[in-house]
């Protein structure tokens, strides 16, 4: 066996060189090439987790803000709806009052016009009656005078006949007008 030294505290030159080379190889491959990869991954993971947390926080804030907005909008909408309802009710009441008033006015107008019509008809009737009554009275008087007024029975017969004639005249006039 070839022994460099019997003293364990004296390093062997070949081992010093080989140890240095091996250490360098390990340092280059593990230290320089591989460890930075895990460092990068760990940093990325931290970023991802922190980013995720931050994003979640942001999303929550946004959601809260949106909720507040919705609530405000809802409250506003409710207020608006109440206002509209109130307005509508007022308007409805107003319209109702107006319509009632109009209807009453219309009714009054119809009644008035009916009254006027009736009045006019009455006047017309009166007038025509007045015109006719003279002739009729004269005619009646003539008949009464023409026939001797012997008894009341004849008298009443004459009046009845006259009245029937009158009725017949009236019905023919009605037939003509209708």
């Amino acid at each position: 066996m070839i022994l460099a030294s019997e003293n364990p505290l004296v390093p062997e030159a070949s081992e010093l060189i080989f140890g240095t080379v091996a250490f360098l190889v390990v340092l280059i491959l593990v230290g320089w090439k591989l460890v930075p990869q895990i460092q990068k991954t760990l940093a990325e993971r931290t970023d991802a987790i922190e980013g995720g947390l931050k994003r979640a926080e942001e999303a929550q804030d946004e959601a809260k803000e949106t909720l507040e907005q919705y609530r405000a909008q809802l409250a506003e909408a409710r207020k608006e709806a109440a206002r509209l309802r109130e307005e509508a009710r007022e308007e409805g009441a107003q319209i109702k009052a107006e319509i009632t008033e109009q209807a009453q006015a219309e009714a009054r107008r119809i009644v008035e016009s009916a009254h006027a019509q009736i009045e006019a008809d009455r006047q017309q009737a009166l007038q025509s009656l007045r015109a006719e009554i003279g002739t009729l009275s004269v005619e009646l008087a003539g008949r009464v005078v023409g026939e001797s007024l012997e008894d009341s029975a004849r008298q009443s017969r004459v009046v009845d006949r006259f009245l029937e004639e009158l009725e017949g005249r009236a019905s023919t006039r009605e037939q003509i007008t209708s």
């Binding site: 390093p11 062997e12 070949s14 140890g19 390990v26 340092l27 990325e44 991802a48």
Partner: protein, 269 residues
Amino acid sequence: MSAPHLLASGSGDEFEAPGLEIFHWGPLFPDGPSWLHWLTKPTLIVALAGLIAIVFAWRAFAGAQLVPRGMQNVGEVAYLFVRDQVARPMLGRDGDRWMPFLFSTFFFILFMNWMGVVPVLYLPVNSHIAFPIVFAIAVYVMMLFLGIKHQGLVGYFKNMMFPPGLPKPLYVILAPIELLSNLILRPFTHSVRLFANMFAGHLLLAFFASVAYWFLVEKLTVLGAGVGIVGFVMTIVMTAFELFIQALQAFIFTLLAASYIQSGLHADH
């Protein structure tokens, strides 16, 4: 280290404790060309330990994913252990920048040490002082370089030898002690601590193993059997203990390396 090999040096009839010869390994091919003489069992084990460290880091870290799977989980635990137990406590916010060096050093030394309890290999290669010296010198050179770079040539020595806030006469004693301990003793203690622990541990294991082999196999007697059994049990107990010591020494070596790097980066407070 096989028992026949251990006992080959013995006289034959009497038990002889294994000695320094268990650390001597000649070239694997003594008859081969002289440029191959560096290839010994220790260098082969160093190469194997380095290969394991590289393969481990390769399987764990190459193409690392955000969501870890398989070996990456183990690698991350290993990385976080070195980072949170060594780099950050010692170097603070500089810690992550030094992780490539500290991680490589820790696991290379750890696997080298653990080779001492791997069957067939059975040699903690740091019991060959050449290897701890390589690591210690690397750290020492880095410490000096960083010290001069960050504190200036004069500032580095001034900070080292004359820490502020002490009564003046004390510097007469303190300055040479600091100079001696920081510049001369540091690489020595740094490497010898690792070397001596591995050396002693290996000797101890070899001793108990050879006791067991001698008294239970080679010279089995009624009286000797008890001693052999004690040796056998102690071999198992000490193997477990050595596993722990080997990991601890790798950890301490890396911790001190980080501490020395820190002393170069910033003046001691």
